[in-house]
Symmetry: C4
Subunit: 278 residues, 4 copies
């Protein structure tokens, strides 16, 4: 976004603009320091949520984690308020993916104050674990995600086709093995058999359910070989998608006729002969 254009429509007070530059900015020293501190805090807070779940923690550790959690909550609350104040459009931020994540991951701690003694209720426990969604805040700091995103978007339809094929495959194989092996061999229902088929086709292979009859093993063998070969399909799709996305990025557009896809080292438009910029 060109700076001249943005400042025209920007009605934020100067201090809010400065705040926004630090919190949302990427290049100034202050903004980079802010980002680094926040990445550290996000990772630390996720590790704290994990640590809390370990049974047999000593009371001292539990106390430390409780205090740390309050520290994280306060800091992320300040960060959230800062983002609301510093954003050019506070509402847009609040409604965005990151705005929702930022809010959702500070709420649980405050809710536990409203309902004291309730931390053993499932809903509250579930809410508290929402804090682990803080990892999604990290996505902010990954520039290159864009290229991957473009490749996946360009391949959206082919990926859908792939998933429908895999789903059909596991439904059919699951139903066949439910019929052949039956409940006595662990294939207690079609959904369970489909679970087995997914475990098999994706080559995970827990082994909690496995075919016992000869025919079942033969069909399982087919499912494995298909799964083993089918993995090639999304890989091919993503590879071709990545190449397309990269070429689309590299290609420069002719200012006269608008043609894209010029070589990065071309000097003249290959259609109209216009001098290419840059």
């Amino acid at each position: 976004m060109p700076h001249s254009a943005s400042s025209l429509s920007d009605r934020r007070a100067p201090w809010r603009r400065a705040l926004g530059d630090i919190i949302f900015g990427l290049s100034s020293p202050a903004a980079r320091l802010y980002d680094k501190v926040l990445i550290f805090l996000i990772v630390a807070s996720v590790l704290a949520v994990m640590a809390e779940s370990i049974s047999g923690l000593s009371p001292e550790w539990k106390a430390i984690l409780r205090w740390a959690e309050w520290g994280f909550t306060v800091i992320f609350t300040l960060d959230y308020i800062g983002r609301l104040l510093g954003a050019r459009r506070a509402r847009r931020y609040a409604g965005s993916f990151y705005g929702v994540v930022d809010l959702l991951t500070i709420l649980p701690s405050y809710l536990s104050l409203l309902f004291p003694g309730s931390q053993y209720l499932l809903v509250v426990r579930a809410l508290r674990l929402l804090r682990v969604f803080r990892v999604f805040k990290l996505a902010r700091y990954t520039d290159q995600a864009a290229l991957l995103g473009e490749a996946l978007t360009a391949s959206r339809e082919r990926i859908t086709v792939f998933f429908i094929s895999v789903l059909s495959l596991v439904i059919v194989f699951g139903t066949l093995l439910y019929l052949i092996e039956g409940p006595e061999n662990g294939f207690t229902s079609i959904p369970t058999s489909i679970y087995w088929a997914v475990v098999t086709v994706t080559t995970v292979g827990y082994g909690d359910i496995s075919p016992k009859t000869g025919l079942g093993k033969f069909l399982a063998t087919l499912a494995m070989l298909l799964g083993y070969a089918i993995i090639a399909v999304p890989t091919g799709i993503v590879t071709v998608g990545l190449q397309e996305a990269k070429e689309a990025r590299q290609g420069r557009h002719c200012p006269q006729c608008g043609l894209g896809k010029h070589d990065t080292d071309a000097h003249y438009c290959k259609r109209c002969g216009e001098n290419l910029p840059g």
Copy 2:
């Protein structure tokens, strides 16, 4: 298909043509609504077949599912009749892949009327589960499947070579481990050992059979590393196949000399200099 040509040879009555346009069509609003409703019904009916297999269902749910099944059967029967009437060549449709699937997946319900009380016979149960094949009806709605199909067709021979190599590998490894480990370690016969080899080479790894002796483990290690590296081969094949299929699609043909493979932004045929269309 150009419309002028098709209407000449089309001897269907106007109402049958209109019906065919709704059922087989892809672009008119009525056709798209019809497709959406059908996709919903297919998914719902497959879920119903799955739900039926869960043991411990309450009698109420069983009744609901039985009625739902009759609803699906009636609707799919009407769809089948509509397709027979609306198709330009009813016989060709009836003999096609989709025609057979459409028929096979409505038959089981009617058969259960002919043989009352027989729903516990294996053959009937098997037939009833055929209804799950309705998922294949979804393939109708996946445009992009064509490109994948072309890529796979172009790579057909190489995929065959790949499968023969993998089969040889699992046969040899299965036989070797049958010899080394023997029935006392779970490798009860060569087919069972080959089942183990497929489980291993495809990296599924259930663990229901695994080598116990040192030499067996060493050979298993080799099989795993081979399987791990070999997966690269179908992936490479499909990726190169996808690129070929895409290039073949993009390439425009010269109206004068027939040469294909022109760049998408070329204005003149690179062989004969003819102006390229489009």
Copy 3:
């Protein structure tokens, strides 16, 4: 091979040449029929060896399989003699990969005549199972294997680097987990731990050995993620190798300056301007 040149140096009698054309040939109707019959017999004989290993076979089936095996042995012996007689250089054939396989897979039956009652000795049983190597005879009939072979040959060094990396990885991870988990958790020795590491890095995951301690699980997690990401490397290598092999095949060579890598649709050499053939 141009026929005129070959017949000059060919000192076989006419009937041996005709025999050779049928057995080794690929295009004449007799040769193609011979190939089809042999492929069928190879598959049947491999299936028979497998069936023989199933315990609990009825005596009738055992007799049938024994007779079938003698049938296969006689036919493959005639095929071997035919190849020796029909080959342009009998010694070269006998010493080639296929010659050795052809001989090795008929020997066991004759050996069992020399040492009657010995079919339960391990060495003899091992020899008899050699017959399963007949699957390798199938490789003769796979044209497209050549392109894959070229791609793998072109990528030979990179694949070696990949295997050395994976081996170093599993040795280091195996040793670390032997140290951390120790014999009490199933990691009884470094070779066993390396077996576990291969099972893990290749994503097979039997589960016969798995880490129990926290630190062991953490390291196992690292090994899995590495294995999951590293699979991308051979895939990339083979894909690029396949593209290279395909391009090298497609490229035509200039008769004047010898330059290869011309586009398949080029009419003139892009270096010296010579007319390209074909």
Copy 4:
């Protein structure tokens, strides 16, 4: 490195330079023999460390392995001293990755002399197993590693994005299954559940922990399908990265304007028309 330039700044005595040529050189017959002997010794010494860990070794074998270990230690010590003397900059070598590995893998044997009878202490045992790191010495001999290295370096950022995505995925799935399945089904804490998620997403699938509830199985199914499809991403990244690295290598640079990325068969710079060398 051009020889004339290097000898100017090279203040090593002639015998040290000759020693360095043998030890560090790659092309002279003596250097190649030295490399081959060393590769053999590295592999042998790693195998010896592994063999030592097998319980139930006879005292004779233990003695042989102890003596072999001293032999390896002496030879690798001489190699280390030779490298220090023959290197153009001894300090730089000593501080390099290989210098540290070379030192670390001879130290344990000498330490066991200083602390006799201590070979059962964990720290000493850990140190002794460091000797297995000798496999890393092999990396010296793999030329082609460079191309792979370049491809990985070029894809560094995208690989980081991939790993952050996978980590976020396993953290979220691990937390969800901890909540749904709970300690009674083996998901005893969030770290353990994340271990399960990694086992699942990477398609390893030990089966030591697996979901028991319907909802847990459904979520596990999603995790598997995601893991199965996501593997396509690093593969695409590495393939595109390898192609880039290869093209960058092949491209020749124009001596006049410095432009790279010329076709390998181009005669003139496509930007400035200068004659290209070679």
